[in-house]
């Protein structure tokens, strides 16, 4: 198709990445506008009410792409609206991409900065936000430069600032770069970090939509989620629902990916509900020569392992949940048959132990304990009872035991590895001395 053609009447299936066809990136405002950029914003500000935009996103059944899958339109609809609502309301883009194995938001941030801005301005309009922030991880240096440039251009063009496009609604956006720590990706920890505090999570309720940044109503959406908004507003909920092509009850496309020792690791926009087998075999080209798939993580370090026998499952929220894991960010990691599961899990838990913010005791103390036990098992110096202790810690760190999802996420790969590969862990237990055997 030609660039900028009406994608409703053409076989367009890639609302997130179609502008990159034949181009490395679309960073200049004029280029983005020539590719139908900011058309959705013009449409919304001239023809749609904020409620219409929210309704369109609600009807589209867009689910949060950060991993939890919460419907975006429903999240927005919890924000107080109308004359009695607080004058200050905030929109925050979670671009603190740090989930191990996840490299999708980097693509959008570096190569399509205006698309994120358009999605954020539309979302800001829907919830009548006064200001927005892009919480960007500090290591994304190129993304920072490109977003700052895009913001300057958008302000000059009147897409940001006072009474945008003559609508009477004013809104501005800022980039806030982080200084490390995975926990900043947790919604309420992110808000604390944005306020200039240590990134400890907050108790919920109240939910951020009621009392978030500086105590004001705040919506936090993932970068990919916000990138979906312009096309939904422009082309409608029914069109967005059709993008999954019947592969899933979920709507739209998804940035999927594969990493590990596969032939062609990468990230691809595909209909939501594409099978893991298609990702691995067609798009990633299968495992590297001489290697076989042993296990896989569907979408990040904080998801349960699945087996090769699960490859034909649709990669959507409910299907992967039923199989005992989570789709998470949707970027699968392939563990090959040369890897020791004990070592793999030790690496994962070392990450989670280091990145625990230390606020809740089970997480702060439990995770280093798993690392200690796993390291001993890795050296073949484990003791009888270690696997039972690991299983017990996993139970103690489950949902509801701590403020946020860090600890429950951390034990997902541990509990599933113990379930599927118990004998590998058992092999790490040192043989008892002969005297002990003889009593």
């Amino acid at each position: 198709m030609s660039a900028g053609a009406d994608i409703r009447t053409s076989p367009e299936t890639h609302p997130l990445t179609w502008r990159l066809r034949g181009r490395e990136a679309v960073t200049e405002l004029a280029d983005y506008e020539a590719l139908d950029g900011y058309a959705a914003l013009r449409l919304a500000l001239t023809e749609l009410s904020p409620g219409d935009v929210t309704q369109r996103v609600k009807d589209s059944n867009l689910r949060g792409r950060g991993g939890a899958g919460f419907p975006a339109g429903i999240k927005w609809s919890l924000v107080p609206m109308g004359a009695d609502a607080p004058r200050q309301k905030y929109l925050v883009c979670n671009a603190d991409e740090m989930e191990p194995g996840t490299f999708k938001d980097r693509l959008l941030l570096e190569r399509l900065p205006h698309q994120l801005l358009e999605g954020m301005i539309l979302t800001g309009y829907a919830i009548q936000a006064s200001r927005g922030y892009i919480f960007l991880r500090g290591e994304y240096v190129l993304a920072t430069q490109r977003l700052e440039q895009a913001l300057t251009q958008a302000r000059q063009a009147g897409y940001l600032g006072e009474t945008i496009l003559g609508s009477g609604w004013s809104f501005d956006l800022f980039v806030h770069t982080g200084a490390g720590r995975y926990i900043c990706g947790e919604e309420t920890a992110l808000i604390n970090s944005l306020e200039g505090r240590r990134a400890n999570p907050r108790a919920k309720p109240p939910f951020p939509q009621i009392a978030g940044l500086w105590g004001k109503p705040t919506v936090v959406n993932n970068c990919e989620t916000l990138n979906c908004i312009p096309a939904i507003v422009r082309h409608g909920a029914e069109w967005f629902k059709g993008l999954s092509q019947g592969r899933s009850p979920d709507s739209g496309t998804k940035l999927y990916g594969a990493s590990g020792r596969v032939q062609r690791p990468g990230v691809w926009e595909l209909p939501i509900g594409t099978t893991a087998r298609e990702l691995l075999e067609e798009h990633a080209g299968g495992m590297r020569e001489g290697l076989a798939l042993k296990a896989w993580l569907p979408g990040g370090a904080s998801t349960d392992f699945l087996l090769p026998s699960h490859l034909d499952l649709a990669m959507d929220y409910d299907t992967i949940m039923k199989a005992g894991s989570r789709m998470g960010t949707g970027l699968m990691m392939a563990v090959d048959d040369r890897q020791s599961m004990v070592s793999v899990v030790r690496n994962l838990e070392t990450f989670f132990a280091r990145e625990s913010c230390g606020w809740c005791t089970p997480c702060r103390d439990g995770l280093p304990w798993t690392v200690k036990l796993l390291s001993a098992l890795e050296r073949g110096e484990g003791e009888l009872g270690d696997l039972e202790i690991l299983a017990q810690i996993a139970r103690q760190l489950g949902p509801g035991k701590t403020f946020c999802a860090h600890a429950p996420g951390a034990i997902e790969p541990l509990q599933s590895a113990l379930k599927y590969f118990r004998e590998e862990f058992e092999r790490g237990i040192a043989a008892p001395p002969a005297a002990a055997i003889n009593g």
Binding site: F103, V141, M333
Partner: protein
């Protein structure tokens, strides 16, 4: 400055700050004040202010902590609390170049162990240490979102990957 100072009232901290002689450069002060303007509450600029000082000095010296607190209008203890929480704020001097090596799972699966061993051998330091000539500091870092090019690392603001252990020496030569 001793840690005792952190619990004293701000006035004495300012005094100790003067004794330590910490003075923002004009560029630092201007950048921090610009940052403050982005937020409803100046506290939100604390991380940004630490990054601004670090950007110009390489690290955040003790005396900068109360000075930042005074400029932003929050206690020095809160600034120190933030400075010590975030892994990319350096509270001790680092080398001219900081190497951040991704040790998360995607890089672990694609050769992190071999890369880390090559770096330690080449530099003669462990993670968290700086070479004797002050040229490099070696640090671990969370997934860099470059998982299709693992094993991966950053040197200063530059992203590299995949990095072969045999290519480490040549790679480092670009950072004198």
């Amino acid at each position: 400055m001793s840690t005792d100072n952190l619990s004293r009232p701000t006035a004495s901290l300012i005094a100790s700050d003067r004794r330590c002689g910490f003075v923002f450069t004009d560029a630092e002060r201007e950048a921090i004040e610009h940052e403050i303007g982005h937020y409803e509450d100046s506290r939100a600029a604390s991380i940004g202010a630490l990054k601004i000082v670090q950007e110009s000095r390489g690290w955040v010296p003790d005396a900068a902590i109360p000075a930042i607190g005074q400029l932003i209008g929050i206690p020095a203890s809160d600034v120190e609390g933030v400075a010590t929480f975030y892994s990319l704020i350096f509270r001790q001097p680092v080398g001219r170049h900081v190497i951040k090596v991704c040790d998360s799972i995607a890089c672990f699966l694609t050769g992190y162990d071999e890369l880390a061993a090559a770096l330690r051998a080449e530099l003669g330091v462990e993670f968290g240490q700086t070479t004797a000539d002050g040229r490099f500091t070696l640090l671990p870092i969370c997934c860099l979102g470059n998982c299709d090019k693992g094993p991966t690392l950053m040197i200063d603001d530059d992203l590299h990957g995949p990095v072969e252990p045999s290519g480490v020496r040549v790679l480092l030569e670009a950072y004198p």
